[in-house]
């Protein structure tokens, strides 16, 4: 452990910590935009700057090592002013269309603007660059008018998904996140996993599938396990008014041991079958080659009667059950129990081989 002074208080931090970690460990909140604990450090947004005694420059706490005896101020007037200037600079390039933004209420940039009182930017005379929003893919909305160039999406694409579809193009104020030749995602190695949406601290990257269906403060997030392949990723179903309106993910290993929040295109964008108008909503009985709606009682009585008849006439081994690799353990257990104990046969299998 090393000792240092932060905001007049002597604190301890493990050797090798960054200043940001030392602050977090001691309950001191530092604003960050480019920092992401799962991605390589960028040190570029400069929101996490702090003052260190006897150092002429501010230190970006996310990349600055905490050293024995340092005297740090995290919220001095100088620092607060610098952060305000940085936010104003970003505000000048950001399209504040919060009223219609899906990230409203779940936007780190918005939070900091609120916290630091950024009503408007003092740097807006020259206006901002306007980017057309026209990526035709059905999954991801890319609105670079809201981008603050934190590059978390680039790093997530490189380091989590390893698709490496996007990078920074051009230089300086002309730089922008882009696929090769500034084309469409569909023509790039993008696999539409939406890890970029997951890490974006603004509304620059959002889900087209969820658009307009509910903002963070309107939805409940229910952690569950994905219904597709056997990897067992956890995800959060976003629910508004008893309806699933989107998918987000929990990035804590404790709640997402396999995937740490990473998902694939099906997990993140393939949830709307739940609300499909094709869903079966009532039992159906076929009569004269046509289905008609039936009550549960009628349908189940019919099933029970027919199965019993076959069993009585042809013996239990003339019955069979296909259980499912998609239903829960509990249901699979009951299905085989039902087959063995009720139907009286071991003819139970599922599509494990298919």
């Amino acid at each position: 452990m090393i000792r240092l002074t932060i905001n007049g208080r002597e604190v301890e931090a493990p050797r090798g910590s960054t200043l940001l970690q030392a602050c977090q460990l001691n309950g001191i909140e530092i604003p960050t935009l480019c920092y992401d604990p799962d991605l390589r450090l960028a040190g570029s947004c400069r929101m996490c700057i702090v003052e260190c005694k006897n150092r002429p420059l501010f230190l970006a706490s996310c990349v600055a090592p905490a050293e024995e005896g340092m005297v740090i101020e995290t919220h001095s007037d100088q620092i607060m002013q610098a952060r305000r200037v940085i936010l104003e600079l970003l505000a000048a390039r950001h399209d504040f269309s919060c009223q219609t933004c899906d990230k409203n209420g779940d936007c780190t940039f918005q939070d900091y603007c609120y916290e630091y009182g950024i009503k408007e930017s003092s740097f807006e005379d020259g206006g901002r660059r306007i980017y057309t929003v026209d990526d035709p893919n059905p999954f991801l909305e890319r609105d670079y008018n809201k981008c603050i160039m934190c590059t978390r999406c680039v790093r997530a694409c490189e380091e989590i998904t390893v698709a490496r579809a996007i990078n920074v193009e051009n230089r300086g104020h002309h730089s922008k996140i882009a696929v090769a030749f500034d084309g469409y995602l569909e023509d790039s190695p993008c696999v539409f996993c939406g890890q970029c949406v997951m890490v974006c601290p603004t509304g620059a990257l959002t889900s087209k599938v969820s658009a307009g269906q509910g903002r963070a403060f309107e939805v409940d997030r229910v952690l569950t396990t994905c219904t597709y392949c056997g990897t067992g990723c956890t995800l959060e179903l976003n629910v508004k008014d008893d309806r699933v309106v989107g998918v987000s993910s929990n990035r804590e290993e404790e709640w997402s041991p396999v995937n740490k929040g990473a998902l694939c295109v099906k997990g993140r964008f393939g949830w709307d079958f739940i609300n499909s108008p094709d869903r079966l909503t009532t039992p159906l009985i076929k009569e004269n080659g046509e289905f008609r709606e039936a009550s549960w009682d009628e349908a189940l009585d019919l099933v029970a009667q027919r199965l019993q008849e076959v069993k009585d006439q042809h013996g239990p081994d003339s019955l069979a059950m296909f259980t499912s690799a998609r239903v829960t353990n509990e249901e699979n257990y009951l299905a085989q129990k039902f087959t063995r104990a009720v139907l009286g046969t071991n003819n139970v299998d599922h599509c494990a081989r298919l």
Binding site: S44, Q81, A82, A92, R93, I148, R171, G172
Partner: protein, 410 residues
């Protein structure tokens, strides 16, 4: 009367730069031979005690810098910064064009100190002829065995001022976008391809053969004691002799401009000089007696920088020049960190507004606040230094600004 004192330009004009024999006849590669009889530690101690400080702008003690390279590192690199991108600077080109083997020998001396087998010269893309020139010299040195098992490769930049910053330069050699890295780790610990790397400027390397030959005491006795030796300055702008001068570091700015530089042409009066390149401070008349060494300059609020000396006469309008400089930084910001990417863009915007008479005092206030934040909050030296011309002209030449604001009010 101030006079030139030549160490790095000692051979300039006296030998044929294309001739290895000429260099050898002038005593070339003798110092390299000598260091091969020394241990790495002895060599580092020699350089450290000579007090040679980096000539690229940061002014760090060269021997100490080398000392950061872990002794046990199996792979190390020597990198020469020839990305002379500061407008008004052409000293490194001058040295290399006049005496390429001096640089190679200096790099090989450094290589001995840090046990390196591979060196790179990162040459700016504007100097393709220098690349050819250096490649010929390297070939000669290799053929004649002067460099031993030390290899040197020249890499050409792509037209990015930020690559003069050592970590951006390293990124560029690695084939990446030239975006600076955060420090620490410093290149001495994790540089090129993550290996310990010494990055020095051409002029720094070029001083080494003479230091090895004449000893550290000799070098330490030249010029200012805290920043001994000479410094090559390149004069540009409104000055009679627009050419490089190598002078002892206790020469004053005034001596450089008026004694050696011949003063202001066409009978005009001096108004300002910008020292150290386009990110340097604008210096008014009353600071002209400051000696041209790192510490004295720093105490006067000036960075020594790369040795560019850009002189402006009384007819020059500081707002016009600084607007142009602001555009330069807007163009050259790499875009990695927020305050620089957005800050250089907005600085230029505000300068244009001032220049065209549309600015209010609160715009100037904004510009000043932004500039001060940038000097402390930006990731690398580019963004930290970019506001210097604005801040120093606001301080010393505020009339030029006020005139424009008045125009706005009327």
């Amino acid at each position: 009367m101030a006079q030139e004192y030549r160490i790095v330009l000692a051979n300039a004009g006296k030998i044929d730069p294309a001739s290895l024999d000429d260099y050898l006849n002038a005593g070339g590669y003798k110092s390299l031979e000598k260091v091969r009889t020394m241990s790495a530690k002895e060599l580092i101690d020699l350089v450290r005690s000579s007090k040679l400080r980096g000539r690229g702008g940061a002014g760090f003690n060269a021997g100490m810098k080398w000392g950061f390279v872990p002794e046990t590192a199996p792979e190390t690199y020597v990198v020469c910064n020839l990305d002379e991108g500061e407008p008004g600077t052409y000293k490194d080109r001058t040295i290399v064009e006049a005496d390429p083997h001096l640089l190679l020998e200096g790099m090989a001396i450094c290589a001995h100190a840090i046990r390196s087998k591979q060196g790179y010269i990162y040459c700016r893309g504007e100097y393709p002829f220098v690349v050819d020139h250096l490649n010929r010299a390297i070939e000669q040195a290799k053929q004649s065995g002067q460099l031993g098992d030390f290899n040197i490769e020249v890499r050409m930049g792509g037209g990015a001022y930020v690559c003069g910053e050592e970590t951006a330069l390293i990124e560029s050699i690695e084939g990446h976008r030239g975006e600076p890295r955060f420090k620490p780790p410093f290149p001495g610990v994790a540089g090129l391809w993550g290996k310990p790397t010494v990055v020095n400027n051409v002029e720094t390397f070029a001083n080494l053969p003479a230091i090895v030959k004449n000893g550290s005491e000799w070098f330490a006795s030249i010029g200012s004691p805290n920043y001994p030796g000479t410094k090559v300055f390149t004069l540009t702008g409104d000055v009679v002799n627009r050419r490089p001068f190598e002078v002892p570091t206790n020469t004053t700015i005034r001596e450089l401009i008026f004694d050696l530089g011949g003063g202001i042409p066409n009978g005009k009066a001096f108004k300002a000089v910008q020292i150290g390149g386009t990110s340097g401070a604008f210096i008014p008349e009353h600071l002209l007696d400051t000696p041209l060494d790192f510490d004295s300059m720093r105490d006067a609020g000036i960075t020594l920088g790369t040795g560019a000396v850009f002189v402006m006469d009384e007819t020059r309008d500081m707002v016009d020049v600084v607007t142009r400089i602001a555009k330069f930084f807007e163009h050259e910001s790499c875009g990695k960190c927020n305050p620089c990417r957005e800050g250089t863009f907005r600085s230029y915007e505000l300068m244009k507004k001032i220049k065209t008479g549309q600015a209010t005092p609160s715009d100037v206030e904004n510009l000043s606040t932004l500039s001060k934040v940038m000097t402390k909050a930006c990731l690398c030296g580019l963004g930290q230094a970019a506001p210097t011309p604005i801040l120093t002209t606001l301080e010393h030449f505020s009339d030029d600004y006020k005139r424009r604001l008045l125009a706005a009010i009327s």
